[in-house]
């Protein structure tokens, strides 16, 4: 195997970059600080490149679907590619902040995106009627808490009973915070362990 393909090099570079970023957080050493600033910029450049790569990859996938005329699918791919080409062309000609791209974005993308998200409201109303049931003590507790939190988040809650906002705030501030802190700290410890294993070369899933 070529020396350039050896996984040890990738693991070493990962550990070096990771340790440098951690050292930068705690140390005021100009050499490390400058190097890490450059590393962060590289990360941003790579992420921008990946967006472009993702776009090309998506176009390839849909071009293949169109070429094969995949049943019940190819016309959606045509529509997607058509809109993508139109939006890119309009933005390149008139600028991203130009009136044409603004019009497309505000009146097609934001409108359809908001509509799609709003559909959740219909699922919620159906679920509230059919799924949120007091089948057991725990389910009843969950049901009561859900109702209190919902009412807390709407002006009507305080209008029904002025104690609802205070009760809701207590639920969010005390039991919710206590439970959340547990998993936040657990996640953080897990991340530290994962980082240490990665630096030590014992976690290699990210190498593919």
């Amino acid at each position: 195997m070529s020396v350039l393909k050896r996984r040890e090099i990738a693991v070493f570079l990962t550990a070096l970059a990771g340790i440098a970023v951690i050292a930068d957080y705690f140390l005021k050493v100009p050499t490390i600080n400058t190097a890490v600033a450059d590393l962060l910029r590289w990360g941003v450049i790579l992420a921008s490149f990946m967006l472009l790569w993702g776009t090309i990859s998506m176009l390839r996938v849909h071009a293949e679907v169109i070429r094969k005329k995949t049943p019940n699918q190819w016309y959606y791919s045509v529509w997607l590619v058509f809109l993508m080409v139109v939006f890119v062309a309009v933005s390149l000609i008139g600028g991203l902040a130009g009136p044409s791209s603004r019009w497309i974005y505000d009146n097609i993308y934001v409108a359809s995106s908001s509509t799609y998200y709003s559909m959740l409201g219909f699922y919620m109303i159906s679920a509230s009627y059919r799924a949120i049931r007091a089948r057991s003590g725990e389910a009843t507790l969950l049901l009561v808490v859900a109702v209190v939190i919902m009412l807390m988040n709407a002006p009507v809650g305080g209008a029904i009973w002025e104690g609802i906002p205070a009760l809701g705030k207590w639920i969010v501030d005390v039991p919710n915070t206590a439970a959340s802190r547990g998993y936040i700290i657990g996640l953080a410890i897990g991340a530290v362990i994962l980082g240490m294993r990665t630096f030590a070369g014992r976690e290699r899933g990210y190498l593919g």
């Binding site: 941003v44 509230s128 859900a146 709407a154 002006p155 969010v172």
Partner: protein
């Protein structure tokens, strides 16, 4: 109708009836505002007072980490906050670390009254920066090395406002308008922890419970909660807008959901006491 049949029928109600009821309770307040009082929470007031106390020339960053889907809640928040900021002698920087952010930020900027504020001098839209948490860390460290052109294509080195905006130490307040709890967590790690930046989480109502632990720990300066938070802020600034208009719809739809839960459970319990569990 026999009692048992009635409960069974109630349990199997056509969902389209529920959908129609939801549409009705969402539309009614648009034509006939109910005008329920909107109490202002201490968190919203804290944000308002912090903006009021900022010294002239302070830099406030508004990061649009949102999407078209969440704009229904984040939009009124952004407009309410920007309206207030533009009334004060402050420098306003808009940026986005999610792809939709800068376009939505620009939309909010177009909606507000800017007074005598000039683009490039008093406010700027820096556009989208790819890279997630890495980009946020780089933004806090050195904006000029990270971004070369603004959303309109101007070189940021030529914009007067950017002369005094170089890194997170220059931010008096940092707003994130988002539906993502992870975005708030990234700012806690990359801006608050190293630079003590005051991060305000303007988040959709659903995300508030997850941000509260950071607020209680002092890592998030304050929270603006969904469209209701926007309504509260509009009342504080005496500029009622979309948030106030939405609050009645929010109240009535919440009441409908609670009513559905109550009726659904009555039907369920009635059926169970008869030894016949309703089909779901």
């Amino acid at each position: 109708m026999a009692g048992e049949d009635m409960w069974a029928k109630l349990g199997r109600i056509d969902p389209r009836i529920l959908y129609a009821l939801l549409v009705i309770v969402l539309i009614i307040p648009l034509f006939t505002p109910v005008g329920l009082p909107i109490p202002v929470t201490s968190q919203t007031r804290k944000i308002y007072e912090a903006v009021e106390k900022l010294p002239p020339g302070s830099v406030v960053v508004c990061s649009m980490d949102t999407s078209g889907a969440a704009w229904g809640e984040n939009g009124p928040q952004a407009v309410a906050i920007l309206n207030h900021l533009f009334q004060k002698p402050l420098k306003i920087v808009v940026v986005g670390f999610e792809t939709d952010g800068p376009m939505l930020g620009q939309q909010a900027l177009l909606q507000i009254e800017k007074g005598e504020k000039k683009y490039g001098v008093d406010y700027v839209n820096l556009g989208f920066v790819a890279g997630g948490e890495t980009a946020r860390a780089a933004f806090g460290r050195d904006i000029h090395k990270l971004i070369s052109k603004d959303f309109l294509g101007n070189s940021i080195d030529k914009l007067p406002i950017m002369e005094k905006v170089r890194n997170a130490e220059d931010f008096a307040l940092f707003f994130t308008f988002t539906s993502l709890i992870s975005a708030v967590e990234m700012y806690v790690r990359q801006l608050h922890a190293p630079y003590k930046t005051k991060v305000v989480a303007a988040i959709i109502g659903l995300g508030v419970p997850s941000v509260v632990p950071y607020y209680n720990a002092g890592q998030v300066f304050s929270i603006l909660s969904g469209s209701l938070g926007a309504a509260e802020y509009e009342l504080l600034t005496k500029m009622p807008g979309e948030g106030v208009r939405l609050s009645d719809a929010l109240s009535l739809s919440t009441l409908l959901v609670v009513a559905c839960i109550v009726v659904g459970n009555i039907a369920f319990l009635a059926a169970r006491t008869r030894g016949k569990e309703l089909k779901r």
